[in-house]
């Protein structure tokens, strides 16, 4: 059950994923004394100021030093605390990947790496500030669970779910302020269990993260053309929900994976890896970022330039369906 009002969720939707996390972690910290937050001088950027006001002795700013941030986090976790280490995705996990692998993954510690501004929204800042390859990295590190919540409510649910989880977790946050509230009502969020957002027979659009919204839009466009579309929120990319994939392989004719991430190593790859073991499974097309660095541009530009808006997804799906 969510102890959170629709008004609050609407406000978080307006404010974006940073605030959604920053407020969710306060609610968790009120319930659990072992929750602490670590960051590398992004207390304001990550909207952790309210947390700091409420729990000044439970937040650690290690300065601009992400490698040590992870080591410090590992030490806290090793001693039984539950640290949430918060960074911009380009800096954690990307900058301190080795520390995350050795100190959190290898020791299987109960630490949570929360990556804000993953994906393309930092488009105007240049490729140094993008993380479009972090799922590939984190999926390959043993013991790690990788979660990409789709909206403010899912972020809240993920924060509470990981608190009960054993082992390290990567929470990947995408989406701009004003990202839609896709789960206005209470809903079941279970790590590793995908959500069938809407049923459909022909195409299965599988998404992860806030790009679920574009998947839903694509489904609406296709439905108008008489194509039945199933939309699946694969919020946990690792471990991927193979029960849901089995159902897709059995019931749908085309799979469209959609992610704000490189098509190398992300959700599309995870689905394809599992699908490789089947003699008969539907064709899959991957909507994601190609193997190149991005042009400079704002979020809207990035999503369009990389074919990640509903119209593009629908067009690709329709074309693939014609051919199959």
């Amino acid at each position: 059950m969510s102890n959170i009002s629709l008004e609050t969720l609407k406000e978080w939707s307006t404010l974006g994923h940073r605030n959604s996390f920053g407020e969710s972690i306060i609610l968790l910290a009120k319930e659990r004394e072992d929750v602490v937050v670590v960051n590398a001088d992004i207390t304001t950027t990550a909207r952790l100021v309210n947390f700091e006001k409420e729990f000044s002795d439970r937040i650690f700013n290690v300065g601009i030093a992400e490698q040590n941030m992870i080591g410090f986090t590992a030490g806290l976790a090793r001693e039984g605390l539950m640290p949430f280490v918060v960074s911009i995705a380009a800096f954690a996990p990307m900058r301190c990947a080795e520390q995350i692998r050795n100190m959190l993954g290898y020791m299987n510690l109960n630490a949570r790496v929360v990556a804000i501004e993953a994906g393309c929204r930092f488009g105007p800042l240049g490729n140094t500030h993008f993380a479009t390859d972090d799922i590939a990295l984190m999926r390959a590190i043993p013991n790690f669970t990788v979660i990409c919540p789709a909206d403010p409510h899912a972020i809240y649910k993920a924060v509470f779910a990981v608190a009960e989880h054993k082992g390290p977790v990567h929470i990947r946050l995408t989406g701009a302020p004003g990202f839609p509230l896709l789960y206005p009502d209470d809903f079941e969020f279970e790590i590793g269990k995908a959500i069938e957002y809407r049923p459909g027979k022909d195409v299965a659009i599988i998404t992860t993260g806030s790009v679920l919204w574009e998947g839903i839009r694509a489904a609406e466009i296709l439905e108008k053309k008489g194509i039945s579309v199933r939309v699946i929120d694969m919020h946990t990319v690792k471990p991927i929900d193979v029960t849901m994939l089995d159902s897709v392989f059995a019931e749908n004719k085309l799979i469209v994976t959609v992610e704000e991430h490189s098509i190398i190593g992300g959700l599309g790859s995870a689905v394809a890896e599992y699908k490789a073991g089947f003699e008969k499974a539907p064709k899959q097309i991957m909507c994601g970022l190609g193997d190149s660095f991005r042009k400079i541009g704002n979020y809207e530009f990035q999503m369009k330039d990389n074919g990640l808006v509903g119209e593009d997804i629908a067009e690709k799906a329709e074309k693939a369906l014609d051919l199959s």
């Binding site: 602490v36 002795d57 439970r58 650690f60 290690v62 300065g63 030093a65 490698q67 040590n68 992870i70 080591g71 410090f72 986090t73 590992a74 030490g75 806290l76 976790a77 090793r78 001693e79 039984g80 605390l81 080795e98 520390q99 050795n102 100190m103 290898y106 020791m107």
Partner: protein, 284 residues
């Protein structure tokens, strides 16, 4: 007198630990072992485990145990030897060093049951973890200390200084770092590879800095670590400790070749003869 007795007991243990290390390293055969950096810090590790730290091999997870982190994880022979002589690791595991499916990995892999507190080996990784452990102790109001051995070559790593600044910021005076200054690293002397002024750097980072002139002298090591342990003062403690690389094995001392290498039977016999001679001399 009491102190002399303790020093003698620790020295007895260092003899056994050096033997264990040679046995483990020789058992690794052609894979070799990091003899030099383990032998340099052997007397420090022995002093911590037998003369300083509060711990119980029968209760490895005892909440109020002092924590030990071997940041220079390649010196695991010294760590394992201490865990063997204290009883965390059974002696019959000695031949398994670096063996298939062995617990005695070439760099420590966290295994609480056997007293291996955290995984280290990638240089620079132990100190930040030790800082987090010390922070957690402060946060939870626990009185135990965290001891961490860092290599002088390891101080090339940027993360060491990130951690050093952070420990000073959070006033982690429950953290005692011993820098093993054996003056060598993989490809040469520390002064050739990366000339840095450790004393100035640790001072600049805001630590309480002390020095040990002979880190292979148990009496001096015990005295200085005990002083740091009993000091508070709101600053983390670092003890810059001069040691001899390969200490105790004549052909390994200050010989870069034995930083990490296999030893043959002749070298093994030579090493054992050196240890026998040193023990005999000590008892004369």
């Amino acid at each position: 007198m009491e102190n002399d007795k303790l020093i003698n007991q620790i020295r007895d243990k260092t003899e056994l630990m050096r033997r264990d290390s040679i046995e483990m390293g020789y058992a690794a055969g052609g894979q070799g072992a990091h003899f030099g950096p383990a032998l340099s810090c052997m007397d420090i590790v022995a002093t911590l485990f037998f003369g300083v730290m509060h711990h119980d091999p029968k209760n490895p997870e005892m909440p109020d145990r002092d924590r030990f982190v071997m940041s220079k994880g390649h010196a695991c022979l010294a760590y394992y030897a201490a865990l063997i002589e204290t009883g965390y690791i059974p002696r019959d595991m000695i031949p398994q060093f670096k063996g298939n499916n062995s617990i005695l990995c070439g760099h420590p892999s966290m295994n609480v049951q056997y007293g291996i507190e955290v995984s280290t080996g990638s240089l620079g990784s132990g100190l930040p973890i030790a800082c987090g452990m010390a922070m957690a102790a402060k946060h939870k109001g626990e009185a135990h200390k965290v001891y961490c051995i860092v290599g002088d070559g390891e101080c090339n790593e940027g993360i060491i200084w990130e951690a050093a600044f952070n420990a000073a910021k959070y006033k982690l005076d429950n953290l005692i770092v011993i820098v093993d200054i054996n003056s060598f690293q993989l490809s040469g002397t520390t002064s050739d590879v990366m000339p840095i002024n450790l004393d100035a750097l640790w001072h600049a980072a805001g630590w309480d800095v002390s020095c040990i002139d002979d880190g292979n002298d148990v009496a001096e090591v015990l005295q200085k670590i005990t002083e740091a342990k009993n000091a508070a003062g709101g600053k983390p403690h670092v003890i810059l400790t001069k040691t001899t690389k390969g200490k105790g094995i004549s052909f390994m001392e200050n010989n870069l070749k034995f930083h990490a290498t296999p030893i043959n039977e002749e070298q093994y016999q030579h090493a054992i003869a050196d240890l026998n001679a040193a023990e005999k001399k000590r008892r004369e």
